[in-house]
Subunit: 287 residues, 2 copies
């Protein structure tokens, strides 16, 4: 297993981690000051800062991407909505390419209307079928551009409103169905927060292998957890056995970044420097 205790060579910061404190240009500056070599920015932040300006700033700072957040949300109440989602995913792929991202992370969507508080269907099987079709169509475009797609299985507590792919096994089944040749163009973004509980996690990580493990996100599961979305913990503050999990991922051949992604009302309420310094310290001590 790689030694993370010195430096920040394999650390990436998902920019959502300090999104409430800083705009993207300031996040990039703050990462550059710490010698951090990679970030994973969100589309709305990039749009606010400007795509070309962001690409230039990253190049000047010597910072690359560990992924681009995010595509997906393939489900909709009608065919027009699903077509619009495909258009939006193509745009996300083009942006990811401009920023030289290694992959586009997919939060695939779930019951139509649920995220807006008004689900129009209870049929999660149908949502999953629409997700399958959406990824298939998007993968065609992604192959042409050369932008790998990383399906992110989300925690089952987000199955209704955010993503109806909820286990690594399910994500890998979809990868095998759509990319049997393991071309490197379709894989998974593995976030410990979503998958730590899974009794099949070790075996499915081994199944995934380096071909499918396109991103590795870290944070922690707090006890108690007070909010289903925005109460993630800093690494070390919860109960996820992070080193064991990273060991499985590296044993499967993963050599990429450990990307810190923390949605947390608490860490958003602190000065960005404190949050980022803590990310660095815990990356070194705990991940």
């Amino acid at each position: 297993m790689r030694d993370f205790s010195q430096g920040v060579e394999h650390l990436s910061i998902n920019t959502a981690t300090v999104k409430e404190q800083l705009a993207l240009p300031a996040i990039i500056d703050a990462c550059a000051r710490r010698g951090i070599r990679a970030i994973d920015p969100w589309r709305d932040q990039v749009q606010a800062a400007g795509l070309q300006a962001t690409a230039r700033q990253l190049k000047d700072a010597g910072i690359g991407l560990s992924g681009y957040c995010r595509g997906g949300f393939f489900t909709a109440s009608d065919a027009a909505g699903r077509r619009a989602a495909l258009d939006d995913n193509r745009a996300a792929i083009d942006e990811a390419k401009t920023l030289s991202a290694p992959c586009l992370v997919l939060v695939v969507g779930a019951l139509p209307g649920a995220l807006q508080g008004s689900p129009t269907s209870k049929d999660i099987s149908l949502a999953r079928a629409h997700v399958y079709d959406g990824i298939a169509a998007t993968l065609d475009y992604a192959r042409g551009v050369g932008m790998p797609l990383a399906i992110e299985p989300l925690h089952p507590m987000q199955a209704a409103d955010r993503a109806c792919i909820n286990t690594l096994e399910q994500a890998l089944d979809m990868c095998d169905a759509l990319d049997a040749g393991r071309t490197g163009m379709l894989g998974v973004a593995l976030d410990v927060y979503h998958v730590w509980w899974d009794p099949k996690l070790a075996s499915q990580i081994a199944r995934a292998g380096a071909d499918r493990l396109l991103a590795f996100h870290v944070c922690d599961w707090l006890i108690p957890t007070r909010d289903l979305l925005n109460d993630r913990g800093m690494m070390g503050d919860g109960i996820i056995d992070l080193k064991r999990l990273r060991g499985w991922v590296e044993a499967a051949g993963y050599t990429g970044f450990a990307e810190v992604e923390i949605f947390s009302n608490r860490w958003w309420s602190l000065p960005a420097d404190e949050t980022l310094d803590t990310c660095v310290a815990r990356y070194q001590s705990t991940v």
Copy 2:
């Protein structure tokens, strides 16, 4: 599929549903007034009302049990704690027998100390091994008494602090390992709240079959869900496709009760009659 639209023949009330409004004797009376034929009481309620008094009241009211809540919590930081858990489970089995319960529901426990807010271990694999050993030992006793054990897989969002068995597949694997002969003494309590999201749910319900399906609990998943424990929805207020799910369970051979179990600050804040009347109405219209 059975017709639930008339009467309450297959309805059971888990007494936690109105635990904040009424003590157990009053819950039994309220159910009897509605013609409800079964309840699933909790140990603390039975203890408060008296075991023998409860058995008498149930007999006089013509009300049976659909299960007894609960055994389990097999994990602990040390061997003495785990031995104490086994003693407690034997006591629960004896109580269940006195009340003529068809099964004892097991919430198996998770990381030691986590429920008290101070987890002493991050090793969920070890917790699962201790659960396995605990169920094995308890099953020996249960066989002697003739009290079936129903493992309840809990939602993955409760994997850290309440139960480290989190999918039906995992529960059934354990049943097969401990009761390969499908003797009827070990099975599952299937609560839609915990399992609705599972992409393997239909196939695992079919695998379970009537031998393993010892209880069927209903409520609903709300959008948004504001609390990980006490924000369950009344049937019909959320996004679980209840009739489809009951269809799978009945196709697998289940002929028992549909037990309403709702942990909800909202439904606890209303008059018990209103909560119970709504349970009956939704059982008829939505389950």
